[in-house]
Amino acid sequence: MSNQPLDDQAIMERLSRGDLSAMEALYDCYSRAVYSMILRIVQDQQVAEELTQETFFRAWKQAKSFSNDRGKCASWLMSIAHNIAIDEIRRRKARPVSVRSEDSSNYLMNLPDSSLEDPDEIIMSGVRRSIVLEALRELPENQRRVLEMSYFGGLTQSEIADKVGEPLGTIKTRMRLALQHLRKNLIEKGIKPEQL
């Protein structure tokens, strides 16, 4: 796997021309992050493999619609993957059933750090996972929890409100603050999300 940032514009132009080697480069760079995120959501290795393939296939088909002005390739790809994974668990009308999702706040809290010497510690586009985890852990527990329940658990705001027994408005506000705080924490740690 390559962890070197890709030239997004160049790779997407090559993709839109039907250059299969560009797809290989895209896959080599991002498949680990895409697969890991999908696996976390669907909690099924075989399904995660299928959805990873589907993510990159859609990227191939949609390359011409990619606009470099509207964000970077990594965000675009992760967004496709996330939508596919969430659609899948909603389609199955099932939620992740692992202990992790039941104790959602602890999932992000307890994720092991990678070694700084480990080349795989750099997830994509030069972002170190340990820094992302650190930024997450600095969030208030209840904010981290709503992020986990929505992003990884596939729960809607209403479902989260029901699950935690708090008003919907409170959940909406908490979710907004959580993402804003995470963005602020990342920027303070030298990660510029808009560069992804």
């Binding site: 493999e49 990594a74 965000s75 939508n83 992000l108 992020l147 992003y151 596939g154 993402l179």
Partner: protein, 259 residues
């Protein structure tokens, strides 16, 4: 769902929920369409989407097995071997005998897609102006527009073009799907006591697909009982108000749906 653009916090709450996938499915669709035409919201989206993506990167890292990459590349190569799957089939119908005279051609969707997307944008602009008691109807409209966009973006979509005298149009369809989008221009004005009836033909049997009374351009999503690919032709007749069990007049336009 309504976005209050002058309410900064509400705007961020909606887009936050969108990037986290936390909106109700119908609201997700509405926001997706809304984002295509709203600069304010796209700016917020550009700010928040990368943060959500980083959240996804916090997952424990695992590598997919090599077979995933190989399957992906095989799938793409397979697609490329049949490029015509992405190319639409155009058919032109001249004046002539009943349910006959089909001439085939080619066309692409690239000129159709922007038009349909523009229709979606216009429809959503209307949504913003209407009252709450109209929302259900509007959601149905949006769903129809999404059906159209889905048809336009499917690699299996085909287009049947048709022209007969001053009437012309096209039918956009996925042979394996039960829905098709039909647009016809140039239909003669029709009296109040008459309707146009759209027929799908299978094994010589004509099934009513819709009864319409258009003012100007006819644009409709047809829902057939069976996949569109199972029908051989489509035609439009003029019928008494409310339609007829079977055609009672010669078709004013007809098109083959088979290669």
């Amino acid at each position: 769902m309504k976005i209050e653009h002058n309410n900064h916090e509400q705007l961020y709450e909606v887009i936050t929920a969108y990037v986290l996938g936390a909106l109700e499915p119908e609201d997700m669709k509405l926001i997706e369409c809304h984002l295509q035409s709203c600069l304010d919201c796209t700016l917020v989206l550009d700010e928040l989407l990368p943060v959500a993506s980083i959240l996804g990167m916090a997952s424990e890292q695992h590598s997919p097995p090599p077979s995933v990459k190989q399957s992906l590349l095989d799938r793409i190569r397979s697609e490329e071997r049949i490029p015509q799957e992405q190319v639409t089939v155009t058919r032109t119908v001249s004046t002539g005998s009943f349910w006959s005279r089909f001439f085939l051609g080619n066309n692409t969707l690239k000129f159709v897609a922007p038009v349909a997307l523009a229709i979606v944008v216009v429809a959503l602009g209307v949504i913003a102006l209407l009252q709450r008691d109209q929302i259900n109807q509007l959601k149905a409209d949006v769903e129809e527009q999404r059906t159209i966009v889905a048809l336009l973006t499917s690699p299996s979509t085909q287009v049947a073009e048709m022209q007969q005298n001053s009437i012309h149009g096209r039918m956009i369809m996925n042979p394996s799907n039960n829905k098709a989008y039909l647009v016809i221009q140039g239909l003669p004005p029709i009296p109040e006591d008459k309707d146009y009836q759209i027929w799908l033909i299978k094994d010589g049997h004509k099934q009513s697909a819709a009864v319409v009374h258009p003012n100007g351009t006819l644009a409709i999503v047809l829902s057939a009982p069976e996949p569109i690919g199972q029908y051989s032709a489509m035609g439009i007749t003029r019928e008494p108000k409310g339609g007829s069990p079977q055609p009672t007049s010669n078709p004013i336009i007809v098109s083959s749906l088979k290669d």
